[in-house]
Each structure stands twice: as C-alpha cells, then as structure tokens.
Subunit: 221 residues, 2 copies
Amino acid sequence: MSADPRPRTSTRLQVEQAVRTALLTGRFIPGKAVTLRGLAKDLGVSPMPVREVIQRLAAENALEIRLNGRVQVPEMTAPRFSEILKARLLLEPELAEMALPKLGKTEASRLKELDDALDASLGSGDTEGYMFLNHAFHFEIYKAARSQILLPLTESLWLQFAPYMRTVYGRVGTSSLVDWHKEAIKAVHDRDAGALRGAIAADITEGMGMLGRRGLEAINP
Amino acid sequence: MSADPRPRTSTRLQVEQAVRTALLTGRFIPGKAVTLRGLAKDLGVSPMPVREVIQRLAAENALEIRLNGRVQVPEMTAPRFSEILKARLLLEPELAEMALPKLGKTEASRLKELDDALDASLGSGDTEGYMFLNHAFHFEIYKAARSQILLPLTESLWLQFAPYMRTVYGRVGTSSLVDWHKEAIKAVHDRDAGALRGAIAADITEGMGMLGRRGLEAINP
DNA sequence: CTTCGTAGTTTGTGATCACAAAATTTTCAA
DNA sequence: TTGAAAATTTTGTGATCACAAACTACGAAG
C-alpha cells in the first residue's frame, strides 16, 4: 500500500530547481552564453537532463535558444521590460486577491519572518539573498491562491526579469530599495482585498520603476 | 554575406509545430496518454527531438508529466477552467488593444478572409478546421501587437483549453456557436480600441461560457 | 598593423543503448 | 469462472557517440 509513488527520477528535477534558483537570484547574467556541457559539468550530471531543462526554460522564455542553436540568458530591452511590467500588474494583484481568503495566521507570520530576513539582507548588502527572499515573499502570497494557471504564468515573468534585476542592483546597489511589503502584510491582517491589491501593485510599480530608471538608460531601445 | 542563418535544425521545430497544431485543433484528447516512442514513430523521427518537445510543452502546461513519468494531455477541471477564463479576459483584450495601431488594411482583409473561411467550416461541420481558423483569427490580431511577453502567455492558455474545447464540440456539435468576430473586424476598421476590447472579451466570455455550461456538467469538481 | 583564411576546438543535434519502473498480458491454481 | 501471481512488453531516464555547424586562435600575406 505505497500510495506515494516517488518521482521516477530526481536528476532532472534537481537540475531544474538549481537552474531556476540561479536565474531567480541573478547568478546568470543577461547575454551570457549557457552551454550544455558546461552546465552539466557544473552540476555534476550528464548533458542529457540539462538538455531537457534548457528546453523547458526556453519554453518559458527564461532562456533563449538562438537561431544557431546557442543558448543564452535573454538580454533586456525597453519594450520587453515595459511589457513585463504591464503583465505583472495584470496578473499579480489578481493572484494576491485570490490568495487572500486562504492566508491565515500561519502564512501571515511567515510573511513577517520573510520580510524581516529581507530587511536584514538589504542591510548587509546580500543581493543574492535579497532576491531569493523577495521572490519567496511574493510567492508565499501567490502560492496560497492554489492557482494552476496564473501562478505558472507569473513564475515565467519572474524568471524573465530576475537576471536583469540583478545586473541593475550590481550597478546601483540595493540600499535605495523601497518595498510595500509592510503594507501588504497589514492588508493581509485586515483582510482588505483592495489594500492588498494596492500594495502589490505599488510594490511592482516602484520596484520596476527603479529598475527602469536606473537600468534602461544605457540599453538599446 | 549570408545574413540568413538557417536554423541549425529543423527536426525539433517541425515536431513542435506538429504537436502544437495537433493540440490546438483538438487531435489530442484530454486524459489520453502520449508516449515518447509512439509520437516519434507517428512523426517518423527518433525519440530524441520528441523528448525535448514534450518537455517544452510540459513547461507550458500543455502536457502533463505525471509523477511516474507518464505523459498525458491534462484533464479539464472546473477551477482550472474558470482560471483560464479569468486569465484570458485579463490578457487578450490588452493584447488586442496593443495590436490595434498596427492593424492596417492588409490585416483587416486577412481577418475578413479568415472569418469567412471560419463560417464555411462551421457550416460543413469541420470542427478541426474551425478550431484552426478560430485560433488563426485571434492570433492574427494578437501577433500584430509584436508582443514578446503577453503573446507567449496567451499561447500557453490556448494550448491548455483547446483539447477540452474539442471534446465538448464533439459532444454537442459546433452549430450553436456564436462569435463576435464581425464586431471585432468592425472595431478594427473604426480604430475603436474600446469596441475591440469589448468584442474580444465578449467572444471569450461567450465561447468559454458555452464550454462551461455544456461541458463541465459531468466533470469532477 | 590590418585582414583574411585555415586549423583546431567547442557546441548543439539526433541516434542508439542499457536499465529500472510501470503497465499489460498470460498463466495457473482455487 | 475467477482472481492473483508471474512473465512479458512498454515506457521514461540517463549516458554515450558521431556528426556538422559555429566559434576561436593563430599565422601568413598584403
């Protein structure tokens, strides 16, 4: 009576998890080439599971397979950036509102924890940790929505702007960052859907606005 | 001076195109198993490119890789369906509005052609042709937006509901179908963004509403 | 010093193989 | 006839190989 069919494999999932968090924390630089054998060697696996993972992430537009077959982290462009902003503003407040009824005390205190840790990594200048925790904070909310559609779409968006986000942080630092997490947490406590939507939207607008102002000045139009 | 680097491969792209249109025209039935070697044999290629394509489509949630590794077309559920509807209503009117400025006389007449062919296939009961043309009509508009973000997200949504759409049509026929294509074409002629958004939204609501009423009655909740 | 061609290396692609897990069919006893 | 156990087939996974295209480095000619 083993009603727990363990995944038949673990290698591909492990590789995928590794590459995803590397992307989300900005360890992959936009424009940088990603080679099959190189990644495989780094992760200590054969090229085979890496091939599948690369196809997966390319399908999510998190990686780009050029016409000549070379794989690279996509570069950010101004139209791409503004479209990501638009899509985030469409999807994420909706996701947050869907999640609100399922966010109880447990999740609220978890959000508080994450936000505290986030402030700490901001103070210590730990960019990678900050990006990881910021993603964790947002998706701690979104995941509660138990969404099978909007959540994957949003995850795809994050994979697309995260590498660029990191390059900007690397240039201007993270000290000037402001977020609306406190307001979001308060909205969760108050069960105020409108306030939660507003906090999420403001967080997106502010964060992406900073990225746009500080980052896109010297990028091809 | 060969400024036209032909894709290094054609096999994977060809396989992907084949599977995508098969999905979009409903030739794959929800719940039906998709086997690697089976698909490869059907398409006359080796299992290798099929593996990559399956990973790609699984990443877009167009195919489902179960815990035991088996691949199948996802089954529709009520929450999944209502979320797809919500996501379509968020993304597609936006996409249409973005496209409007770039829809000239050429595109308008192409839309008219597609809609006429669509009516014809409706009259002859050609469900597969209808689904192909309906997809072509919508994406003739959306593609004009030259969107790099919203367009792939929307394509993913279509891949997810198309197979289910087909099973409902197979049960209740396509004769009772009504669409808002004429209104959309008129809005394009009039350069009326609000009317175009409205037509697209109505087309989605009506079409999906029919799918929901006629299809989800006997499906697990 | 620049430019162009050539040799060597790296890279993605498609194919094939071995293996284990899962599903399917067959067999045989109750 | 029925039901469970055993044998067979099917299936996904990871590894390796051969090959052609692309990139890199280097050197010779101008």
